[in-house]
C-alpha cells in the first residue's frame, strides 16, 4: 500500500533496428537503462515500470499492441533471453531439464514427452553439458555450466532473436571466454539475431555488427561497429573508448570518466552527459540535444554535431 512515488523516465528516445542474423551490442555504464530496455522489448518490466510510448516492431507487428496472451506466444518462441546471473534466473527447486523442457512444452516445439526429453538432451549437448546432468538441480552446476544451461534454455524453441543480458558477468575470465565463444559459434550456426548487452567494449568489438551506446536512458550513439570504434562522434563514446584498455597500444594511458552516471530520479535538465562531459557548453545544461545523423547509418545526440 505504498502510495505512488515519482515516475522516472528510465528510457527516452531509444530507437534501433535488428536485422536477421545481426549482432547488436548495447553498451553503457551500469544503471543507464540497458536491462530496462531489454525487459521493455519483451514487456517484462516489473510492476513499478510502464512503457509510455513507442513501438516494438517484430516482423511487422507491434509487440506493444499485442494482447498479453499473444505476447506470451512471442516470448521465447520468437524472442528468447539469457539473463545475467544464471544462479538467480534458474528456479532452485526444479531440475535443469524440467526448466528447459517447460519452455519446449509451452510453445509446443515438440509434442511427445519423450521427444521433449530428447530435445533437452540435445540442447545440453549443444552447449557442452553432459546430457545426463539434466536431472540435476541448478545448485549442483558450476557458474559457467549454469550459464550454458541458460543458453541451452534460450535456444530451446529455436528463436529468431536472443537477448543476451550481460551473460558473462560474475564469471571468471576463462569461463567468460568460453561462454562468449559458445555464443558466437551458436549464433553463426543457427543464424540468430542477437541483442548483446554488455559494458565490455572488447567483447563488442569482437562479436557485434553494430553498437548502441546508451547513457542515462537515452541513445548516445548508434552505428556499425567500425564507425563506433574508429570515428565515435559522441563525447561519451569517446570517453568510453579511452577508458577501455587497448591491448594493441600498451603504452596508452587508461583514463576513467570522472563522476557517476545520473540517477534516473534526478536527471539533469539538458544533456544527460553534460555534468561529466569534457566538451560541455552552456546550452548543454539547458537544452536536450536532438539525434543527429552524421551519416545515414550513424546516430548521435550531441550539440557538437550541429552545424
Amino acid at each position: 500500500m505504498i502510495a505512488d512515488g515519482v515516475a522516472a523516465h528510465a528510457l527516452t528516445d531509444i530507437s534501433f533496428t535488428l536485422r536477421e542474423g545481426e549482432v547488436l551490442g548495447v553498451v553503457g555504464e551500469s544503471g543507464c537503462g540497458k536491462t530496462t530496455l531489454m525487459l521493455s522489448l519483451l514487456r517484462l518490466l516489473p510492476s513499478s515500470g510502464r512503457i509510455t510510448s513507442g513501438e516494438v516492431l517484430f516482423m511487422g507487428r507491434d509487440l506493444l499492441s499485442l494482447s498479453e496472451a499473444e505476447m506470451a506466444e512471442v516470448r521465447w518462441k520468437n524472442i528468447a533471453m539469457i539473463f545475467q546471473g544464471a544462479m538467480n534466473a534458474l528456479n532452485p527447486v526444479h531440475t535443469i531439464g524440467r526448466q528447459i523442457g517447460e519452455a519446449i512444452i509451452r510453445h509446443n516445439y515438440v509434442q511427445d514427452k519423450k521427444l521433449v526429453d530428447n530435445r533437452v538432451a540435445e540442447l545440453l549437448e549443444m552447449v557442452g553439458i553432459n546430457p545426463d546432468r539434466r536431472r540435476q538441480y541448478p545448485h549442483q552446476y558450476s557458474g559457467g555450466m549454469r550459464q550454458r544451461a541458460m543458453i541451452a534454455m534460450a535456444l530451446a524453441c529455436n528463436p529468431q532473436i536472443v537477448i543476451a543480458d550481460e551473460p558473462t558477468t560474475a564469471l571468471d575470465v576463462m569461463i567468460q571466454a568460453q561462454i562468449l565463444e559458445l555464443l558466437a559459434t551458436l549464433q553463426e550456426k543457427l543464424g540468430l539475431a542477437v541483442l548483446f548487452v554488455t559494458h565490455d567494449l572488447g567483447v563488442v568489438a569482437e562479436m557485434c555488427d553494430s553498437v548502441l551506446v546508451m547513457y542515462g536512458g537515452v541513445t548516445a550513439e548508434y552505428a556499425d561497429v567500425d564507425t563506433i570504434f574508429n570515428a565515435p562522434q559522441h563525447p561519451y563514446t569517446q570517453e568510453l573508448l579511452r577508458a577501455f584498455p587497448d591491448l594493441s597500444r600498451p603504452t596508452g594511458k587508461l583514463v576513467s570518466i570522472p563522476g557517476y552516471p545520473p540517477r534516473l530520479t534526478a536527471l539533469p535538465p539538458g544533456c544527460r552527459f553534460a555534468p561529466r562531459c569534457p566538451h560541455v557548453m552552456e546550452r548543454c545544461h539547458q537544452e536536450r540535444p536532438p539525434l543527429h545523423t552524421p551519416s545515414p547509418t550513424h546516430l548521435a545526440s550531441c550539440h557538437l554535431l550541429e552545424t
Binding site: L44, R75, M81, F83, L90, N91, V93
Partner: protein
C-alpha cells in the same frame, strides 16, 4: 548418504528435546504449591488418613529425586537412597510403559483419557487446519499476485481482522448465530442416543456438529496463513527465476503453480509445524466453547480442577507432537528444497 546424515542429526535433536521436555515436565509440576492429593477437592469427608492413602497411591510419599525430598517447599533429602525409590524414576519408568499417571479428578489412567480425546481433536484440528491452510494459501497467493489492488487490500484487511479476533469470543458469537439461525447443535460431536439408519446419517450428524467449531477455527487461523503466504509469495515473485518463467511465455497461472508455490511453501511448512502449539491453545478455547470432547477441553477442565496428572500428560503429548511435527516439517522441507538434501 548426506541426506541420511541430515535426517539422523535431526532425529537425534528431536530425541534430545523430548528428553528435555520429559524432565521439565516432571520437575515443573513438582514445584507447584499445596498438596496435590487435595488438589481441587475440598471435601469434608477427606480425612488425614485418606489423604495419606491417596499420596501412597499416587506415589507422592516418596522423595522427588535423590537429595531432594520435595520441591515446594524445597526440602533437601537423603542422597544415598535407592534411586529406584524416587518419584522421578517411577515417573520415567511409568512413561516408558506408556503410563502417564492417574487423573486426580476422574481416577482413570491419564493415557486412556488422552487417547480417547486425542482423535476428536485430531479430527477437528485436522479438518480446520486443512481448510485454513488451503484457503489461507489460496488467498495469500491471490493477494500477492494482485498486490496493491483492491483484492489484495480486502484479503489483507480480512486476514488481519480474523487474526485479531479473540478465539473464544468469536466462538460464542458463532455459537449463538449458528444455533439460532441455522439450527446447528451447540455441543458435542454427535447426538447422543441417536440411532443411525445408515452410515451416511452418522457422518452427517458428525458433520453438523463439526461445522461451528471448524468455522471458528478456520477463521482464526486463516488470517495468519494468508499473511504468511502472501509475504512468501511476494518474496518469491520478486526473484529472477519468475522473470525467466515469464519470459518463457508461461501464463500467470502456470508461473504461480509451477514456480511460485513450491518456493513459497518453504516458509509455510516451518510455520505450520511451529503453529501446532498455538493450534492447541486455540483448541482449548474452541473445544470448551463448543463442548467438543477433545484434548483442548480435557486441558481446560484440568486447568479448572488443577488436575495436574492430566495437564502433565497433555503437556508431554503436545510437546512431543510439536517436536514431531517440526521433525516432519524439516524433512518435508528438505524434500521441497533440493538444496538441503545435497549440499
Amino acid at each position: 548418504m548426506r541426506y541420511f546424515r541430515i535426517v539422523l542429526r535431526k532425529l537425534a535433536w528431536a530425541v534430545f528435546t523430548v528428553v528435555f521436555v520429559i524432565c521439565l515436565n516432571f520437575f515443573l509440576f513438582r514445584v507447584l504449591p499445596g498438596d496435590p492429593a487435595r488438589a481441587g477437592i475440598r471435601d469434608p469427608r477427606l480425612t488425614r488418613q485418606a489423604i495419606e492413602a491417596i499420596q501412597v497411591r499416587f506415589g507422592l510419599d516418596k522423595p522427588v529425586i535423590n537429595c531432594v525430598e520435595s520441591l515446594n517447599p524445597f526440602t533437601p533429602g537423603d542422597c544415598l537412597i535407592n534411586p529406584l525409590q524416587t518419584q522421578f524414576f517411577i515417573y520415567v519408568s511409568n512413561l516408558l510403559r506408556g503410563e502417564l499417571g492417574i487423573s486426580y479428578h476422574s481416577n482413570r489412567p491419564v493415557a486412556t483419557i488422552l487417547r480417547e480425546q486425542l482423535w476428536n481433536t485430531i479430527l477437528l484440528i485436522g479438518v480446520a487446519q486443512v481448510l485454513a491452510i488451503v484457503l489461507g494459501m489460496t488467498l495469500g497467493i491471490a493477494a500477492a499476485w494482485k498486490a496493491r489492488t483492491p483484492i489484495d487490500y480486502l484479503a489483507l484487511l480480512g486476514s488481519l481482522m480474523a487474526w485479531s479476533l479473540p478465539t473464544f469470543w468469536l466462538g460464542i458469537i458463532l455459537l449463538f448465530w449458528g444455533s439460532t439461525s441455522l439450527g446447528l447443535p451447540t455441543a458435542g460431536k454427535s447426538t447422543p442416543g441417536a440411532n443411525y439408519a445408515t452410515l451416511w446419517q452418522q457422518w452427517a450428524d458428525l458433520g453438523r456438529h463439526l461445522i461451528l467449531p471448524t468455522l471458528t477455527y478456520t477463521i482464526v487461523f486463516l488470517g495468519e496463513y494468508m499473511l504468511i503466504m502472501r509475504s512468501a509469495v511476494l518474496d518469491v515473485l520478486s526473484e529472477d527465476y519468475i522473470l525467466t518463467a515469464k519470459a518463457k511465455g508461461l501464463s500467470t497461472f502456470q508461473i504461480l503453480k509451477d514456480h511460485a508455490l513450491q518456493n513459497a511453501m518453504l516458509p509455510m511448512v516451518t510455520i505450520i509445524a511451529l503453529n501446532l502449539g498455538f493450534t492447541v491453545a486455540g483448541a482449548i478455547q474452541i473445544e470448551s466453547v463448543f463442548s467438543w470432547p477433545g484434548l483442548g477441553k480435557a486441558i481446560f477442565d484440568a486447568v479448572g480442577r488443577r488436575d495436574y496428572p492430566v495437564l502433565q500428560g497433555a503437556f508431554l503429548l503436545i510437546a512431543v507432537a510439536v517436536i514431531l511435527a517440526n521433525l516432519i516439517a524439516d524433512l518435508f522441507y528438505s524434500y521441497l528444497d533440493p538444496r538441503v538434501q545435497t549440499e
